[in-house]
Symmetry: C2
Subunit: 315 residues, 2 copies
């Protein structure tokens, strides 16, 4: 189990490289939700998403311990940018295996951090094979997007900051995060357990990638019955590691439809004037869908990221 000290050390390690992001509130959305919502704005984080935290915590340790001569991972999303960014901070080469179908804008972002992009077929097998080849060729160390205690401890620092900065004022009844592979949710649950033990942790998941809710119920890592959602950051299944933490420390997982996700995303854009990506809107969609459950509550929400393709908006 990841100890509180491990999360504190992670925070000290990454602090010089990250933003302590703002926490915003919005009167109109509070009125609509009939609750007091505190949004932790990781869309303002380096690389535009909380993933910078976990990527940095892992990569800084790989570099300090001289565990390898390079870093690798496979991802088409924010974790790819996070690892590329973190590797640049420590001066290690980064090799990012990306499906050839990934948008050019995402490949360009990774290239922009000085990493090498290795294209592969868009299957999990091909991605994992690509990473193995890189590791053999370059001596690179894999930084997994979520199945890694160092990554989880890094992601835990977002909720830690939220509680440190607003826990006294807000006395959170709940903290909400979205769930994909479960790295952020695990870290959020651990920080909340340690630093605000009376606060429940609830996850939001898209209906079109509903694996975590199944795994949460059965206790085994399950696959989603189907994958079809606009929340492209939340398509992954849990690992044994994240499921164990989530089963122990998370109260509930609630699902929302893509229409509900888009409506919540639009509400945040229009009312808060900040840009969030679809995956990021899932917890607010949960709150708006279940007004009875959240009425009168003080709710912390991790806004996970703001990386959207402005040419392909769902509005």
């Amino acid at each position: 189990m990841i100890a509180l000290d491990t999360i504190r050390e992670a925070h000290d390690r990454i602090r010089p490289h990250i933003h302590r992001t703002a926490v915003l509130t919005n009167q109109t959305i509070n009125e609509k939700a009939n609750a007091r919502l505190f949004f932790k704005c990781e869309n303002f984080q380096k690389i535009g998403a909380f993933k910078a935290r976990g990527g940095l915590n892992a990569v800084l340790q790989v570099a300090a311990n001289r565990e390898g001569k390079a870093i690798t991972t496979h991802s088409s999303g924010n974790h790819a940018q996070a690892v590329a960014f973190a590797a640049r901070q420590v001066g290690l080469p980064a090799y990012i295996v990306m499906p050839r179908t990934a948008p050019q804008v995402k490949k360009d972002a990774v290239l922009g951090y000085g990493a090498e992009v290795i294209e592969c077929e868009p299957t999990l097998d091909a991605r994992e094979a690509g990473v193995r080849t890189v590791m053999e060729r370059t001596g690179a160390v894999l930084v997994h997007p979520f199945d890694d205690d160092r990554v989880i401890a890094g992601q835990a620092t977002a909720a830690k900051e939220l509680i440190e900065d607003y826990g006294q004022e807000a006395r959170f009844d709940l903290i909400l995060a979205p769930v994909g592979g479960g790295g952020l949710l695990s870290g959020t649950a651990l920080s909340t357990r340690y630093l605000s033990p009376g606060t429940r942790v609830v996850a939001g998941e898209p209906e079109g990638a509903a694996d975590a809710i199944l795994s949460f119920q059965s206790g085994r890592v399950e696959k989603a019955p189907y994958i079809n959602t606009i929340a492209d950051g939340l398509m992954t299944s849990l690992s044994e590691r994240t499921l164990a933490i989530i089963r122990t420390h998370v109260t509930d997982i609630l699902t929302v439809s893509d229409a509900e996700i888009i409506a919540a995303m639009r509400l945040v854009w229009e009312r808060m004037k900040i840009i969030i990506e679809p995956s990021c809107a899932v917890p607010l969609a949960v709150v708006l869908k279940h007004p009875d459950q959240f009425a009168g509550q003080k709710v912390g929400i991790i806004l996970t990221g703001g990386n959207v393709d402005l040419g392909k908006l769902p509005f």
Copy 2:
């Protein structure tokens, strides 16, 4: 001439009703501009724009002095919402004359603050006639969008906050604001003159509404040669009042094309993850267009507002 004490009193008057908005910086945009930019985020202001400041300062005084039984104005933009919002704060009825061609979403926003919308033909004559009819019928007082010292003193509080909060750290070489009717620019110039006298004030104006640059040169209120710009908040001409302040206290007015405005707007959306409207992107477009003029400078920029129709984006 509006005195510093008048601006201070305006600030004290409106402070309970407004946000002291954040000032954001962005490393990528600084690198691109080769300058240090400090963005005063009035897109996070009440009603989504700085106009709340001037509207409130005028309406609160109308109410306190019992100058009329209601408030009226004509506007299809943020001033309409500002006056409706301010009137609600003091419990006075508001009658907003809007061209029948204004987007329904803007009419709805005004209605949402409890104001009455009076539709008219989309000409300045019809709008002014509409306001006269309202004044005769209801005893309402007109709050002009910019040709009013109380409105200018209210708008001046944005630059006042920027200087109070970041002037010590930034020691601004320049402060930039866009210019439409000149209310914000006048207020910005006055606050800067009083509170940071070594700082130059420069305005940005769209090529497709280039009246202020002509008036600035000739010393007379001029019309734009043509009106055709995406910056819908900046189509108005100056008044004698705003021109006099601007000629005395503003260093320069620089113009930018719609393509430059859209590129600057997109850069802010993508990199800062905040929503700004086209008019709001004009000063940054000016900085990016003239790298020689701004290289190495410390620049305050008033981000004026974030009210966009998400269904009609220029990307």
